[in-house]
């Protein structure tokens, strides 16, 4: 792949995990800084202006989405990749909706993480199986309800069947290349479907997504 090493900033409240990720990434990326909480992260990222921020979904001083919304206002070119062990779906969706370009779990291998960072740096979306599952679930269980949602935008509030197929295959553990082969489309098209899902997630003012999150919190 490209020889250029993307610059990365790591935000996680566990020092052990930060150093673990650092050593796993090795010299494949350039780690320009790290932080362990919301405030230090915001100032640190503003100073370093990294290409990609690896962001823990949960931080002691708030959620990862606070960092994302604060930074995207001032530094729109910084991209976020959410990373966590195991989180409630609503927190993950919240981080994505605030502007992160993807979500991977901490069980990801070093090589896969480097690949994900490169893709985010290139402006692509990175969906882990879990995120794909969360999104499918959010759209499936929150059926459009026109009564509650006067500004219903069908384009943004629904996934196309093709997008759903792609998400399903991601959730089943397929790589983009395998999905392309399975659906007889190009890897580029898979990529654009995923980006479109991400855009819908972030732009939809869909009341149902919020209600879905609230319902999940009750369980």
């Amino acid at each position: 792949m490209s020889e250029r090493r993307p610059s990365v900033f790591i935000v996680d409240d566990h020092g052990l995990f930060r150093s673990g990720v650092r050593s796993e990434l090795g010299d494949q990326v350039e780690v320009v800084g790290e932080a362990d909480d919301v405030q230090p992260a915001i100032t640190g990222i503003a100073r370093c202006e990294p290409e990609v921020v690896l962001l823990d979904v949960h931080l002691p001083g708030g959620g990862g989405h606070d960092v994302v919304s604060a930074i995207t206002k001032s530094h729109p070119r910084v991209r976020f990749l959410a990373l966590s062990a195991s989180d409630a779906p609503e927190d993950v969706i919240a981080v994505i909706r605030s502007g992160a370009r993807g979500y991977v779990t901490k069980t990801i291998s070093g090589a896969e993480l480097v690949d994900a960072i490169r893709r985010v740096a290139a402006g692509d979306a990175v969906f882990s199986p879990r995120l794909a599952g969360f999104v499918l679930d959010a759209y499936a269980s929150a059926q459009p309800d026109q009564r509650v949602q006067p500004a219903f935008d069908p384009e943004l509030d629904q996934l196309t069947p093709r997008e759903r197929d792609v998400l399903r295959l991601i959730a089943r553990g397929y790589t983009y290349k395998e999905i392309a082969r399975e659906l007889f489309i190009s890897a580029k098209t898979v990529e654009s479907h995923v980006s479109s899902v991400l855009r819908k997630l972030q732009l939809s003012t869909r009341h149902q997504l919020t209600r879905w999150a609230a319902e999940r919190r009750l369980n």
Binding site: P129, R130, D137, S141, R172, G173, Y174
Partner: protein, 446 residues
């Protein structure tokens, strides 16, 4: 018997003509060409007794032409049927040394039954002739011969021919051994046709004669049928019942075997693998004991998630925890949508659990993806690993895990299982269970 040469002669003549056109064949030993060996009833490609197929092999004529000849001569006078049944009786089947007729000699009851059937049919025909019901008259002996012969064939055929006979008579006898719905349509059609024919005869031909003959005749025929076939019907019903019970027992055994495989055998395998860790062994043994007890005394099947989980996503989480704990592999469990568990979905989860355990044990991969999706009319589960994979065709039939626990378990409940695997690239097991009408309501949180 003495009619057979006629038929054979004509068929042989036509075959002779065709072969003369292509290449003159001087070799003609005796009456028939001997190319096909002695005349035998064929097993391959037979519809009933294999007589037509045997003749075809013997004479080189098309089997369809011979069959058509039999059918046409049967329809005209019953002659073909009689010849066919006689051939069935007196020709040995391919690979058998004795004919059915030779075996039937010892069957006293069969001969009696055949005689009864023949005389009864003759009586019916006689009554018909008395009533001037046209087409059965002096030419009516072939059906009588055919009926009597068929009784003997039925009673004395070899087991595999019995099976063929059963298959042939299935639509008429109603019940089928394979558990598919009986072909009611055909039976009702036949009954309706008989009824209409009877009514036509009664109402039109004898309307102006006010004698009681027709009614008496019909009553006699009905009585005859009941008397002749009643005990036979009873016996068939008894046989079917016994067969059904045997099948249920076999199914229960299969279910039990797959349960034991999932619980006890799995645990024993795990214990062997972790023999150096007494703590683990003890906890495994305890868990297995608990499972067995609750199966034997509370009726809760091991490997099933009854009582432990009430929803599909709960069951998926349970599989994840269990397999991660027992096999030290990461299970990426994702479920989309949710619904309450019913027996079908419990079976689906049990199969999914088995597929996950299989992946954990054999794939060599460090993680397994377990994806469950609830849709309005079906629930699907996919178990995917990126391990060593295998060639699905090369797996021996007796490999319990996949064959019994996954495939059979799904099939018993009306679901389906497909396995895709490529050596070196991993395996994906796809399980789908249709949802029953009562389960359609999604169980959403309040």
């Amino acid at each position: 018997m003495d009619d057979r040469p006629d038929l054979a002669e004509s068929s042989q003549q036509s075959s002779q003509q065709s072969s003369q056109q292509s290449s003159p064949q001087p070799r003609r030993a005796g009456l028939w060409p001997r190319d096909g060996g002695p005349l035998r009833r064929q097993r391959e490609g037979r519809l009933a007794g294999g007589v037509a197929a045997g003749l075809s092999v013997r004479t080189g004529m098309g089997v369809s032409a011979i069959r058509a000849a039999f059918v046409i001569t049967s329809l005209i006078s019953g002659f073909g049927a009689a010849v066919y049944v006689l051939a069935w009786l007196f020709l040995p089947a391919e690979g058998e040394s004795s004919t059915i007729a030779s075996r039937a000699q010892g069957d006293k009851r069969g001969i009696g039954l055949a005689a009864a059937a023949a005389s009864l049919l003759a009586l019916v025909l006689l009554i018909g002739a008395l009533l001037h019901i046209g087409w059965i008259g002096s030419l009516s002996w072939p059906p009588v011969v055919a009926a009597a012969g068929l009784v003997l064939v039925w009673r004395n055929a070899s087991p595999d021919e019995q099976a063929v006979l059963r298959r042939l008579s299935e639509p008429l006898l109603g019940d089928t051994a394979a558990g598919q719905p009986p072909r009611r349509g055909l039976r009702i059609t036949v009954a309706a046709m008989l009824l209409v024919a009877g009514l036509v005869i009664l109402l039109y031909q004898h309307l102006n004669r006010l004698d009681l003959w027709p009614i008496t005749g019909v009553a006699l025929m009905l009585a005859a049928i009941v008397v002749l076939l009643g005990p036979w019907w009873l016996r068939i019903a008894r046989d079917l019942m016994a067969e059904r019970q045997a099948r249920v027992r076999a199914e229960e055994r299969a279910e039990m075997a797959s349960r034991v495989h999932d619980s006890v055998l799995q645990t024993l395998a795990l214990i062997q693998r972790r023999a150096d860790d007494p703590q683990q062994v003890i906890s495994l043994a305890r868990a297995s004991e608990r499972e067995l007890r609750s199966w034997l005394f509370d009726g809760r099947a091991p490997g099933s998630l009854d009582g432990l989980a009430t929803t599909l996503s709960g069951g998926v989480r349970l599989i994840q925890q269990e397999v991660e704990a027992q096999h030290g592999i990461v299970v990426e469990a994702i479920s989309v949508g949710d619904c309450d568990l019913d027996p079908d979905l419990s079976a689906l989860l049990a199969a999914a659990r088995e597929a996950t355990v299989n992946a954990a044990k054999w794939s060599g991969a460090s993680s397994v993806a377990l994806f469950a999706e609830v849709e309005p009319d079906a629930v699907s589960v996919f178990v995917r690993d990126r391990g060593r994979g295998f060639d699905p065709d090369a797996v021996p039939q007796d490999r319990k895990g996949l064959a019994e626990s996954v495939h059979a378990r799904m099939a018993r409940r009306g679901g389906s299982a497909t396995v895709r695997s490529t050596p070196g690239q991993g395996t994906e097991v796809a399980l789908t269970m249709p949802r029953t009408a009562g389960q359609r309501e999604p169980s959403t949180a309040p």
